[in-house]
Structure formats: structure tokens, C-alpha cells
């Protein structure tokens, strides 16, 4: 996918992140089979694995594990830009908010907004970016947000060493 951050085929470096810019990250439809399979593997609670029992839960039906939404967002991020970037991994997230249920057949749409960029104090070839990620369902309800910290390599020749 071509982001408004870089020209096609160019690596995205730390320098490409612009504070305040909103960037779409694509869509993903979640099936009942995927919800049950993820639930069985990582979050074996009836609300994620058993449609019959889930019907009697507070959500009235099967819902995806919030951590499945996180895994799917991670994949959307990879496909949208991370695999074309100088990503050096992440030290973690300040916040993960599960704001609403994700149900079978929902189509999730993700976007990101860069909140802050700063150079690493200890490693001149590394930059740090704080990014706000949001995931919406097809009705426009926000179901998941992250405040995430990420490391990126700096564009060669630009780091102050």
C-alpha cells in the first residue's frame, strides 16, 4: 500500500513521520471461524469460543478477544507500512483500550496519527515515534485504540553522530 508518507518503493525512515498527520491503514473483515480459532488458541473463554454460551453473555453473542483485535491491527500495520520501513521494533505501549465488541462479519478499518517524534539520546542512528492507532467497525464505532512507542532507523546520512 502506498502511504502519503513516502514515494512508492522507498523505505520509510524516522524522518518520514509527521506529527498530526492521519494515515489510513486498510481494512480487515473478521469471520466467526477466525474469532473461534483465535479464542481456542489464546483466549479460551466462552464469549470467544462458544456461540451458544456467548448468546447468554453480556454481549448477547460471540465477540472477538480484544487481543485478537490487537494481533489483527499489528498485521494491518505490517502490511500498510511497517514492512517497507526501517522498523527496529517497539519497547511497548502506553495504553491499549478495548472500547467496544468486535463481532463475526465486522469489517475493521484502522488509521494512525503520529503524536510525537524524538531522536534517541543514546543511539544516534535510531529515532522514536509515538503513534496513536484507532480501529473502527463498519458503523464508525471505535473498538480499539493504542498509544504505541516505536523505534525506526534514521535516514542514512541524516543522524547527528
Amino acid at each position: 500500500m502506498l502511504l502519503p508518507m513516502n514515494a512508492q518503493g522507498e523505505t520509510i525512515y524516522w524522518e518520514n513521520f509527521e506529527v498530526g498527520r492521519v494515515v489510513p491503514l486498510g481494512e480487515k473483515t473478521v469471520t466467526e471461524d477466525e474469532i473461534v480459532a483465535f479464542g481456542r488458541e489464546f483466549d479460551p473463554q466462552p464469549m470467544h469460543t462458544d456461540p451458544e454460551m456467548a448468546a447468554h453473555s453480556m454481549f448477547g453473542g460471540l465477540i472477538a478477544s480484544g487481543w485478537q483485535s490487537c494481533a489483527l491491527l499489528m498485521r494491518m500495520i505490517c502490511d500498510a507500512y511497517l514492512l517497507d520501513s526501517s522498523s527496529l521494533g517497539s519497547p511497548g505501549l502506553d495504553e491499549i483500550n478495548f472500547l467496544g465488541p468486535v463481532r463475526p462479519g465486522d469489517t475493521l478499518r484502522a488509521q494512525m496519527t503520529c503524536l510525537e517524534t524524538r531522536a534517541s539520546g543514546s543511539r544516534p542512528e535510531v529515532g522514536i515515534v509515538k503513534i496513536f492507532y484507532e480501529v473502527f467497525n463498519q458503523d464508525g464505532d471505535c473498538v480499539l485504540t493504542w498509544r504505541c512507542n516505536q523505534f525506526f532507523g534514521r535516514r542514512p546520512g541524516t543522524s547527528a553522530s
Partner: protein
């Protein structure tokens, strides 16, 4: 010990379980959810900051989640067997301060521990209360590899009056 919201004690800690991260599992998770080269490719990983193939941080988090749920189910089953009333659990509103402190490499064994750090009333769901825990995962060398603050709704014996 696990129980209804009123019986949960701040400061209580328990061992949740441990897991060995095999190469196959690391690759399988990364192929599906986090196909960055340092989670998929030995050579690329060698040349990365991590120095060797390592698990996606989300993989570590998902394994933590499974051990946490399985541990809870074991404790609830024991309560049922003893004839004790069993609380219901609601969904989690999220997590705070998720930190990936060290890479999880192939065949690392990570042991998880949970400590109750806070309890809060839930205004929107008076029959539940919010329990906040600090979770930590440690590798076989005693190094902390992941920590996070998680929260979950736990049923009360007596619902809050409106």
C-alpha cells in the same frame, strides 16, 4: 486466591504458569500477525538489533493471556468442586504500560506472575468491580521480558446500589 470482587485482596500475587517458545510457534505467529524479518528469518534477525530470531511481542502477550485464562479456569473448577459459589468475569477494558523489556528467543521459557494492585467500582456495571493487576513475565535467566498492567471486571457478591 481468586474469588468475588469483595474477597480479592490488593497485594495478592500468584504464579500464573510458564511456557517454552518453540521456533515453530514463533514462526507460525509471526507469519499470521507480525511478519517482520526479525520474527521470521534467522539471517535477518542476526543482523538486527535483536541478534537472533525472537518472538513477536504480541505473541508473548497472547501466550500470557492463554496461561492467565487457563489458570483462572483451573481455580474456578476447584471452587466449583468444593461447592463454593463461582464469580463471573466480564471483559477487560484494556491494558496500560505494556513493556517489552527483552527479546524472547527460541526455546526461552517464560514464567508469568500476577499481582493485584487496585480495585475500583464500576459505575456502568454495578454487579461487577474492576480488578487491576500487574503482570510480569520472566525468562529462564531471571530477566524480566514483559510487563503490563491489566484489568478485568469481576462479579460482586452484592451489586452496588445505584
Amino acid at each position: 486466591m481468586i474469588g468475588f470482587f469483595e474477597n480479592i485482596e490488593i497485594g495478592h500475587a500468584n504464579e500464573v504458569g510458564s511456557h517454552r517458545f518453540t521456533r515453530d510457534e514463533i514462526l507460525s505467529f509471526a507469519q499470521r500477525y507480525d511478519p517482520q524479518p526479525f520474527h521470521l528469518d534467522e539471517e535477518a534477525a542476526k543482523n538486527s538489533l535483536f541478534g537472533a530470531l525472537c518472538a513477536s511481542g504480541w505473541h508473548t502477550a497472547c501466550v500470557w493471556l492463554r496461561l492467565l485464562i487457563e489458570n483462572r479456569e483451573r481455580m474456578l473448577a476447584a471452587m466449583k468442586e468444593a461447592g463454593t459459589p463461582v464469580p463471573r468475569f466480564g471483559p477487560s477494558p484494556g491494558a496500560r504500560d505494556l513493556k517489552w523489556l527483552k527479546p524472547v528467543y527460541v526455546d526461552d521459557v517464560i514464567s508469568f506472575r500476577a499481582t493485584i494492585v487496585d480495585k475500583k467500582d464500576s459505575r456502568s456495571r454495578p454487579e461487577y468491580g474492576l480488578v487491576v493487576s500487574r503482570h510480569e513475565g520472566m525468562n529462564q535467566k531471571g530477566e524480566l521480558v514483559i510487563s503490563l498492567q491489566g484489568s478485568v471486571l469481576v462479579e460482586r457478591r452484592v451489586a452496588l446500589s445505584p
